[in-house]
């Protein structure tokens, strides 16, 4: 699945998007954040405060317990500050 990062999450991860293949035991957004954080110090730093991170699946806001099954695109970003 494709993962996108925005704002300071993007800066901390060091890239705007990538394609990942998490193991099938990773079923929710929270589990995906935990799995990414276990992969390297870079991800651990980007996701060090998981409660602050917002997520969207296929362009719709989701909560951290949302299932990632079938997602084409998952995005991680800080709270929005537009307008």
């Amino acid at each position: 699945m494709k993962v996108k990062y925005f704002a300071w999450v993007r800066e901390r991860v060091g890239k705007a998007e990538e394609t990942i293949e998490p193991p099938p035991t990773v079923r929710t957004v929270a589990e995906l954040i935990a799995w990414l954080s276990s992969q390297s110090e870079t991800y651990a730093y980007a996701f060090e405060k998981p409660k602050v991170i917002r997520a969207a699946i296929d362009h719709a806001h989701v909560k951290s317990d949302a299932a990632i099954t079938g997602a084409r695109e998952i995005a991680f970003f800080p709270p929005m500050t537009g307008g």
Partner: protein
């Protein structure tokens, strides 16, 4: 007799270029005689955001999702208030103090609907549309933090 359904043209754009409020209002109202009220909100880059002296502001967005998220809230506004037209334009890029950032226009027969829909849309643009601001000031560069008061403003529209 049911009243005739008002047509409510919707324009949602994300762009780097500035917008022209007079032109957007004219597009919304021209050759119509059923609109009694037009409310416009323009958001402008300020120099004194939270007392730091802003030299410039950079706006980043999530292409695709940003448009869809705004359209979802415009549809929600149309379902809540009798609107005759809605325009929402959000700029992205780098802005100097005094420059336009965002425009919301609402048209209705009566002023209350136009005012409320414009406030509703701005509250959701602030808290729900995927845009992020980065400030450049004398003390450095940093991402703007979300404001609790914006979440509270958006929460008042939640149906109980």
């Amino acid at each position: 007799m049911t009243p005739p359904v008002a047509t409510c043209p919707v324009t949602v754009r994300i762009q780097e270029d500035d917008f022209d409020i007079a032109r957007e209002i004219a597009l919304l109202t021209k050759s119509r005689t059923d609109i009694g009220a037009v409310v416009s909100f323009s958001g402008i880059c300020r120099a004194d955001e939270d007392s730091a002296n802003i030299a410039a502001l950079t706006l980043e967005h999530y292409p695709g999702m940003a448009e869809e998220e705004i359209k979802r809230h415009v549809d929600e506004a149309i379902s809540r208030w009798p609107l005759n037209g809605v325009t929402a334009i959000h700029r992205v890029g780098r802005f100097m103090p005094g420059e336009n950032i965002v425009l919301v226009l609402t048209a209705s027969q009566h002023r209350q609907a136009a005012f409320q829909a414009a406030e509703f849309l701005m509250d959701y643009l602030k808290t729900s549309a995927p845009f992020w601001k980065k400030e450049e000031s004398a003390t450095g560069t940093g991402w703007v933090e979300a404001q609790a008061r914006d979440d509270e403003a958006a929460a008042r529209w939640t149906k109980s």
